[in-house]
């Protein structure tokens, strides 16, 4: 019980933070928002997966990937391919020249389902693919770069280039991928209609549970020896290498992990929004995922979720009424979080709010057991 409390929940501070987040996601938002808005929040929360993955990768391991959109997209497309195949059964596509294949293939004079689409008839394969494909992709890219000690800005730009290539490829190969429109008109998941209100509620909750689960897993990793090594690597890579560790393997691991986390977000995005398109894959969405993590605080897993909610809410609120202002604001955020608030919202909380929260909590818990709280806060300092 104690290891669970300290390592998975992150001690008192972490447990309270997580509790508040869970309260917000599972109770407050669903109670106060109608289903349309809640569905939007669900969409923002799928970006939070990417933001959390960047906290692991960039904040704690010091590897900036400007290509998280790649993995978000891979996850989203895997899910979309399955849903599209289910929506294109021979009965409902009887009017096409070739019934039984997705409509955009028919429009592009393709008469047979391409081979790489075949396995996506099966739901277990699709779910497996959502985990395996991004992990393998990240492994290949990561192994090629980290084994040769390529990192820093090189890595950032090359991941960005890969995101660009993937977008051009998806847009260019319209017959196989749906082109710029993406994969649309998705209806059912294994016979279950995903467009009804009740389905949207269920998907929102599944999404929330997965997000909290991912945060717990990341907390566990960060509190382990591996987590310490990641931090050490970020701060003094050579010293870790001289101590006998193979730095590249840790980097490949955390890059693959972040890829999987983003891909889960992508798959949930497809399910909740009902389509997937290359506009969520390329350079711009990828770098916007970084700003979500940066605004929330690049070291804080929970902060990343708030960052994702806030920035995306701001984006949809501003870009409808003042599109010009939004780009200034977005640009200002990039400069601001780098120059003035390197630890984002979480950093602001740490400096301004945390002392008074701590005092309040201490007063509250001292009544029950003074010794325990002292021991706990000591442990927490060590963990931090």
């Amino acid at each position: 019980m104690n290891t669970f409390y300290d390592r998975w929940l992150g001690g008192r501070q972490g447990a309270i933070g997580l509790l508040l987040l869970a309260l917000l996601i599972f109770i407050i938002l669903p109670v106060f928002l109608d289903i349309y808005r809640l569905n939007n929040v669900g969409k923002y929360l799928t970006y939070a997966f990417a933001a959390v993955s960047l906290v692991m990768l960039w904040g704690h391991a010091g590897i900036l990937s400007l290509g998280q959109g790649i993995f978000f997209g891979v996850g989203g497309y895997c899910m979309a391919m399955y849903l599209k195949l289910e929506a294109s059964d021979p009965a409902s596509t009887a009017r096409q020249t070739t019934p039984g294949i997705p409509d955009f293939m028919d429009w592009n004079q393709i008469t047979q389902l391409p081979l790489f689409w075949e396995p996506f008839h099966s739901l277990p394969f699709t779910i497996l693919a959502i985990f395996v494909v991004p992990a393998v992709l990240a492994y290949i890219v990561g192994a090629a770069m980290f084994k040769r000690r390529v990192g820093g800005v090189y890595f950032a730009i090359i991941t960005q280039a890969i995101a660009a290539i993937l977008t051009i490829l998806v847009v260019g190969q319209q017959g196989y991928t749906g082109g710029i429109n993406g994969i649309t008109d998705l209806k059912t998941l294994h016979g279950w209609n995903i467009n009804t209100d009740s389905a949207k509620y269920i998907l929102y909750y599944i999404n929330g549970v997965l997000l909290v689960g991912v945060i717990l897993l990341c907390r566990y990793i960060l509190s382990s020896k591996l987590g310490r090594l990641l931090l050490a690597m970020r701060d003094k890579e050579d010293r870790v290498r001289f101590s006998g560790y193979d730095v590249s393997n840790f980097k490949i691991f955390v890059f693959s992990l972040s890829a999987i986390i983003s891909a889960i977000g992508g798959a949930m995005f497809t399910l909740q929004v009902g389509f997937m398109s290359p506009t969520f894959v390329g350079i711009v969405p990828s770098i916007e995922m970084v700003i979500l993590a940066a605004v929330g605080g690049r070291l804080s897993l929970i902060g990343a979720v708030y960052g994702a909610l806030l920035v995306n809410y701001g984006k949809s609120a501003f870009s409808e009424s003042f599109p010009a202002l939004w780009l200034f604001l977005m640009g200002g955020m990039f400069i601001g979080v780098v120059m003035f608030f390197p630890n984002g919202l979480a950093g602001l909380y740490q400096t301004y709010l945390k002392p008074s929260v701590d005092r309040f909590l201490d007063k509250f818990t001292r009544k029950s057991s003074a010794v325990k709280s002292a021991a706990l806060s000591e442990k927490k300092e060590v963990a931090e």
Binding site: G152, A161, F334, V338
Partner: protein, 308 residues
């Protein structure tokens, strides 16, 4: 016969596509020169580099409009003046950007990446607010129009030749300045060993600011070259930034000769492939090839023998 073309046709296609590749080469090389000296010396990537190109392009546009309106007699000559103006304007903006933003971030290259991306968003929006979202083109002087046909099937546009000429001159000047001038000496000293350069009395901060501004100025000239081959919009520059960075890395970050060679290879490959495949696929194949080569040989074509 190959792909259904006769060999003389193929020859002409190769020459013409090769030539259109040379226009791309000019823009890429001018952009990459600036990026390469900045990256080589300070280790930061300027993601707003494309926007400095756009500044240059808009400068040409504005000057062409002013000339057309008030001094129609000078239309034939304005372009040369405008190129200098493009350099000066981009240089000045770059100087202030370095002073206000970049110099605080030299120790954090990843953060510079993000901050300059933010800068590029802001600059794009400024362009959009000032010049509108639609693409604009300057009125080019008559002598830049038309084409030169050495054989009946080959058609080479004059503006392409002119852009080539500018590129060659600018590249030569930059390389000469780096190797023969006082400033170049300081730059090379700072690039090789910043601490030692400081110790022997070089004001490295000043050198940094100058280098950054010169790099941006050269990007401004790239913008001038750009106006002769395409029309300018607020996001024109940002489409080049990834390609440009790949040019720099592929050539080997520390070698200007490598930058020239890689800009040539990439632009030619892209231009010739584009003819045989769709535009998009030509680009995908080229970029993918570069990335694979970079994974096999991360130090680029021409690596420097400096220990890092």
């Amino acid at each position: 016969m190959l792909f259904g073309y006769s060999f003389s046709d193929l020859g002409s296609i190769l020459v013409m596509q090769g030539f259109s590749g040379l226009s791309l080469f000019s823009v890429l090389l001018l952009m990459a020169l600036g990026l390469a000296i900045i990256f080589g010396q300070m280790g930061v990537i300027n993601m707003a580099h494309g926007e400095f190109m756009t500044i240059g392009a808009y400068s040409i546009y504005v000057i062409s409009k002013i000339t057309e309106q008030y001094f129609p007699g000078f239309m034939a000559y304005y372009f040369v003046v405008a190129i200098i103006a493009a350099f000066v304007i981009a240089f000045t903006v770059g100087y202030f950007v370095e002073f206000l933003l970049i110099r605080h971030l030299y120790r954090r290259p990843l953060d510079t990446l993000l901050a300059t991306w933010g800068l590029s968003l802001i600059m794009q929006q400024i362009f959009r607010s000032v010049f509108g979202g639609r693409e604009v083109s300057p009125t080019l002087p008559d002598w830049l129009m038309g084409s030169w046909s050495p054989t009946p099937s080959i058609d080479i546009p004059i503006n392409g030749l002119f852009v080539m000429l500018i590129t060659l001159v600018v590249t030569a000047v930059v390389i000469l300045a780096l190797h023969k001038s006082r400033w170049g000496l300081k730059v090379r000293a700072t690039t090789q060993n910043r601490l030692m350069a400081g110790a022997v009395g070089i004001n490295t901060q000043k050198v940094d600011r100058m280098t950054f501004a010169v790099g941006c100025g050269v990007a401004g000239i790239a913008g001038a070259a750009f106006t002769t081959i395409a029309s300018t919009g607020p996001t024109s520059g940002s489409t080049y930034i990834v390609d440009t960075f790949l040019v720099v890395v592929f050539g080997g970050a520390a070698s200007l000769l490598g930058t020239v060679a890689s800009a040539f290879t990439i632009s030619q490959a892209q231009s010739i492939l584009t003819f045989f495949m769709t535009n998009a696929m030509g680009k995908v194949v080229t970029l993918l090839a570069i990335i694979v080569i970079l994974m096999l040989r991360p130090e680029g074509l021409f690596s420097s023998k400096v220990r890092k």
